[in-house]
Structures are given as C-alpha cells and as structure tokens.
Subunit: 245 residues, 2 copies
C-alpha cells in the first residue's frame, strides 16, 4: 500500500513515524519545494516523486495536510487524479469539506484532535468510505464519527464553540477575582471540583486567547456564521468579550 502526502508538516511527519509497517510505503513530491524543505524530507523514509500529480495517481491513500487556506485548491488540482482515498486533515470548515467532496471521488473528512505530535493521536474521520481507514487503528487511535462528509468538520466547530467560549468565561472570572485580590484562591477553590490542573490549564487558556485574540475572534465569527440558525447567546457573548479586550 502507498500513502502519499501533499504537505509534509508536523501532522504528516508524525503519521509517517507512527504508521510503521513494511507493507506500507510513503511518497511525496519535490514539486515547488525549497532546497531546505527537501533536505528535511530526505531525513525521512519516504519516496520523492517529480510531481504531486504523480503522487495522487500512485497513492492508495492521499493525505492533504497543508493549511486550511489551500485545502480546496489542492483538491481541485489533484483530486481528479486520485483513485484511492482522499483524506483531508486540514482544519477546514464544513462548507470547505462539501466543496472538496465535489472535486474528489473517495473523500474522507478527517481531523487530529489533541496534540498532533503525540504518540497516540486521535484521528476522527467521516465519509462514505471512512471504514476503509479503520486499519490505521493498528498505529494510532482512529474514530469513525459517521458516513457523512462534514460531520468531522462540524465536530471541530462544536469543540471550538465550547473551548473558545470557556476561555472568554475564564478571562472574565479571572478579571473579577483579581479585582478582589482573590485570583489564586479562585483557582484553588475550583480545583476541588475541576481537577488538580485547573489553574495551570486555565492560565494557559487565558494567555493563549489573549495572545491570539484576533484569530480567536475570527474563529468565533466563523462558528456564529455557520451555526446561524442556533440560539448562540453564550458564543456571541464570548465574541463581545474578546472584542472588548
């Protein structure tokens, strides 16, 4: 079996390390890549084709793991050459998965949630042929969500709905606690019910949200636009909170 990569960042590199089976070989291409990137690629046990078109033709599983902004374009360019499974692992919206599905025969919508470079990452998949990727459970933790394209992307949005709104709540509670000089006690008291790592995790969430507040606001806007019909009182408040920072 041949697994081809379009995009060879942390996600692809980690998958290559984890999927350790002599019957599986990996390929990618040097097309349009800098010498520096190629030097990096040559550190791995991976075949290098002349073009991504060839990678698409030869792959039983073609993995697109680039960046959300190019995911649809990549599917337009190379999807038609892929007769195997086309697995997208970019952090894309449900609408982008529907778009990609038009350009690709056997599309599977995927996401790695949690630490992407961990020893046992969890990969969520959905799509008509998603079962065909369950053999990867020998190497990592694969969870079939449904046979519907878009479900993994929606699940990512739902996750994001919760975590980003929670961060806004943490920012607000922490502000008030600080005004009463009770911020450490606030974390201590909540650790009793929220677990030992509550303080550490909360401070890291607050810092991360404040540092990347522009991106977080854009992601909250995306969520609000996508779940347009839903009554999103809390999520909209989170966006207002971040807008006021």
């Amino acid at each position: 079996m041949i697994i081809g990569f379009i995009g060879f960042g942390v996600v692809s590199q980690n998958l290559l390390k984890l999927i350790n089976n002599p019957k599986i070989t990996f390929i990618t291409s040097a097309e349009g890549r800098s010498n520096k990137t190629m030097e990096n690629i040559r550190q791995f046990d991976i075949g290098v084709e002349n073009s991504f078109k060839e990678v698409a033709i030869k792959s039983d599983i073609l993995i697109s793991a680039n960046s959300p902004s190019v995911a649809v374009d990549v599917s337009k360019k190379y999807g038609k050459y892929c007769n195997g499974i086309y697995l997208d692992l970019n952090n894309i919206s449900p609408d982008s998965t529907f778009e990609i599905n038009k350009n690709v025969k056997n599309f599977i919508d995927g996401a790695i949630i949690g630490k992407i470079d961990s020893d046992n990452p969890i990969m969520y998949i959905s799509g008509k042929n998603a079962e065909k990727l369950l053999f990867l459970n020998d190497f990592l933790n694969v969870k079939l969500i449904s046979y519907k394209i878009g479900d993994v992307a929606i699940l990512k949005l739902l996750r994001s709905t919760y975590t980003k709104t929670l961060s806004a709540l943490l920012i607000e509670s922490f502000e008030v606690a600080k005004n009463y000089n009770l911020e450490n006690e606030f974390f201590d008291v909540l650790s009793v019910t929220e677990g030992n790592k509550f303080k550490e995790k909360s401070l890291s969430r607050i810092k991360n949200t404040l540092t990347n507040s522009k991106r977080k606001r854009e992601e909250l806007e995306e969520i609000i636009n996508y779940f347009d019909d839903e009554e999103l009182i809390m999520v909209k408040a989170a966006l207002r909170k971040l807008n006021q920072l």
Copy 2:
C-alpha cells in the same frame, strides 16, 4: 474547649464526627426544637443546654450553620452573648457577612466547599482572628483565605460565577451538538482535553441547572448585583440563556 452549634444539620453533624478529640466537647440546645429533631440530636455525643443563649455564653467556638435566610437574625439574637469565636458556615452573601460582623465580637466568615459530608471537607475561613481556627486542620482541611470579613463569601460568589456560567455554556453547546446528532461525539472529543469524566460531569451539571433553573437564575442575579461595577458580559449572557429555557 467547647464548640457550640446553632443549627444541627449535615454540616454540624459531620464536623462533630470529624473533630474527634477528648479535650473538645460539643453543645447545642433543645430550644424551639421538635421531639423528632431532639431524638436525632441524642444520637450524637453532644450536651444539650436549655437555651441557645446559654450555648452562646459557654462556647469557645460558636458555629452558626442553619440556613442563609436566618443567618443575620441568629447573629443579632445570640452574637452579643458570645465571647469566643463566632463562625458562620451558612451560604451567605458578602453583604450579610458585613451585617453579621456588626453583631458579633470575634466573627469568622466560613464556607465548606465541595461535599459537605465528605471525610476530608475543605473549610475556607476569613476574618481578623481566623488563625485561631487553624488547629482544626488536625481534623479537616482548613484554608485561611485572608483576615478580611467577606472574602470567603466573595470567593463563593466567584466560584458560583464560573460554575453557573459554565453550565449555561454546556447547555448551549449540547443543544447545538444535539441538533447535528453529534452530542456523544461532542463529549468524546472534549474528554481528550477536559478529562475522562467530562461527559458525566457535564450531563450532571446540565440536569442540575435545568431542574433548579429558577434558583440558578436568582443566584446569577445576585452575582450580577454584587459585582455591579465589573464588566460581566459572560455572566449576563448566562442569565439570558437560563431565562430563555
């Protein structure tokens, strides 16, 4: 040393069980109590005085653990007879602690957070003489928050700010996930970062909030009134969310 109880519910009973030292005796009174309550009290190793006034006079530590609605009245009635420490363990507002402080000489503002009938409850205390209760660490987990009356009550409000707003967020996220038939997957995905018990804890919070939504709304209103000067975007949204249920 004599510890006196005004109010002999779960909190008092558990403290009596935990504070196990031959040098410490316990008293309460039969005043105004039903035969049934007295039968219950006689199950415990506790002296019974004729009046709560006598309990107040004799106690080195007088514990008021009744109900929030009578806490201030109790301090008015018996506070003046108490030359020892007066410890209030009712779930009262910061303003009520300031009120009680006017009626009592050595007031300590206290709260038991987490399970009140556990083997190792955590008791938070604040007040000028709060250090004098640290010897109770031999029997339970005592945390001195500050020397300022009201700080423990504020800490309870801060805790409540977080947990009640979180419940509103959980209700909203769960609703959206359900509309996409992804509610189980939503919990699974979040368990990766929020811990194994995320689903169980979240469902119990959602149920608890829906069952007691009137009380939860009142508590959110109290928080909003107390922290009036603060910019409470998230907490106000939580109240709107619960109002729309």
